[in-house]
């Protein structure tokens, strides 16, 4: 049996209407304590109004070695950007 607590990733919403942002990680024995630890470690200076915690092992991350096939094909495809439309003046800033 491992004596190390699992690792949790912490996401905090700084204010209403803003999305949650990854702020760091911490160790905790279960989800409830992870939430409390996140509150104590990451919101002591009034940083947040909402916290998400997720056990790090549940996150599937892309592999750095896949970065060629994953990302490079999109480099040269300017037509994927919606920048070829004339926006009517009445629409204003978009």
């Amino acid at each position: 049996m491992s004596t190390e607590w699992p690792l949790w990733e912490v996401f905090i919403r700084g204010q209403h209407g803003i999305s949650h942002r990854h702020v760091g990680s911490l160790h905790a024995p279960d989800a409830e304590m992870a939430m409390k630890n996140a509150r104590d470690v990451y919101t002591r200076r009034n940083e947040g109004v909402s916290i998400w915690v997720v056990e790090a092992r549940h996150i599937t991350a892309s592999s750095p070695s896949d970065k060629g096939p994953f990302y490079e094909p999109s480099h040269s495809k300017v037509y994927r950007h919606p920048s070829f439309f004339d926006i009517p003046d009445e629409a204003g800033h978009m």
Partner: protein, 252 residues
């Protein structure tokens, strides 16, 4: 008489949070894991912040020109009015957390009632402190359950802590002349009135933590009246008050 009783009552509130806050701050940099270190420091700072409010009001009520700092740093053992529970040494982490939980369980109930105090200044302090105390009791209660219902070693340590600290619980519920004067003026609840709700909360947590309440009926007292503090308080004060004693009036 009422002014004197009110002063005593405010010292009790402020000395509890001051002495426990100092005790908890002794863990700073020493806790078993980083997350607990920060959480304990947060708790200690909350308690010291509450102390500033309680002792600030105490000084105002006393009207002798003393400040909250004077009360904290320039009184000696026999002038302190905290419960014996909070001056007990930290022991291991389990003992610290159990002491915290026993205090928090009482503190939350006391503050909740003080929000209805006939003294608006007290009600305002209680409302602010209650938000912090409700988090404290949730955290300490969950940790008591986790450690009590944990490994053989953590269970044994928590049971030992409970056996050691249990005799200090009764002092919270023993009323005296100060408590009676506060109840009469509708400033604070009778000490005894907190026994049932506090015991209920404590027993529910200890049950989940698979800990057994000790058989002993022995109850220690003498802290809130100041007549018989344990030997530990003096040692704590030598640390806490050292700077102001060595360099009177020092500021930074």
């Amino acid at each position: 008489m009422e002014g004197a009783a009110l002063f005593q009552f405010l010292l009790r509130m402020g000395d509890n949070t001051l002495i426990l806050g100092h005790r908890v701050s002794e863990w700073c940099g020493h806790a078993p894991v980083l997350e607990e270190d920060i959480a304990l420091a947060n708790t200690a700072l909350d308690l010291i912040g509450q102390t500033q409010m309680w002792l600030g009001l105490a000084a105002e009520v006393e009207g002798q020109g003393r400040s909250a700092d004077d009360l904290a740093f320039l009184r000696d053992v026999w002038d302190f009015r905290n419960l014996l529970l909070v001056e007990q040494p930290n022991g291991d982490f389990g003992q610290t957390i159990l002491r915290q939980f026993l205090f928090d369980a009482w503190h939350v109930e006391m503050l909740r009632r003080l929000t209805d105090s006939s003294d608006a200044r007290i009600a305002a302090i209680a409302a602010k402190a209650l938000k912090e105390a409700r988090y404290h009791v949730e955290r300490s209660g969950d940790t008591v359950i986790g450690l009590g219902d944990g490994t053989d070693e953590s269970h044994a340590r928590m049971q030992a802590a409970l056996d050691r600290l249990w005799p200090y619980l009764g002092e919270m519920f023993h009323g005296d002349g100060v408590d009676e004067a506060m109840e009469k003026a509708a400033i604070a609840p009778a000490a005894e009135a907190l026994r049932a709700p506090v015991s209920e909360r404590i027993e529910a947590v200890l049950d989940k933590a698979t800990l057994s309440i000790p058989e002993t009926r022995h109850a220690r007292s003498g802290g809130k009246s100041g007549v018989r503090h344990s030997e530990h308080l003096g040692h704590l004060l030598t640390q806490m008050q050292w700077l102001q004693r060595a360099y009177p009036g020092a500021t930074w």
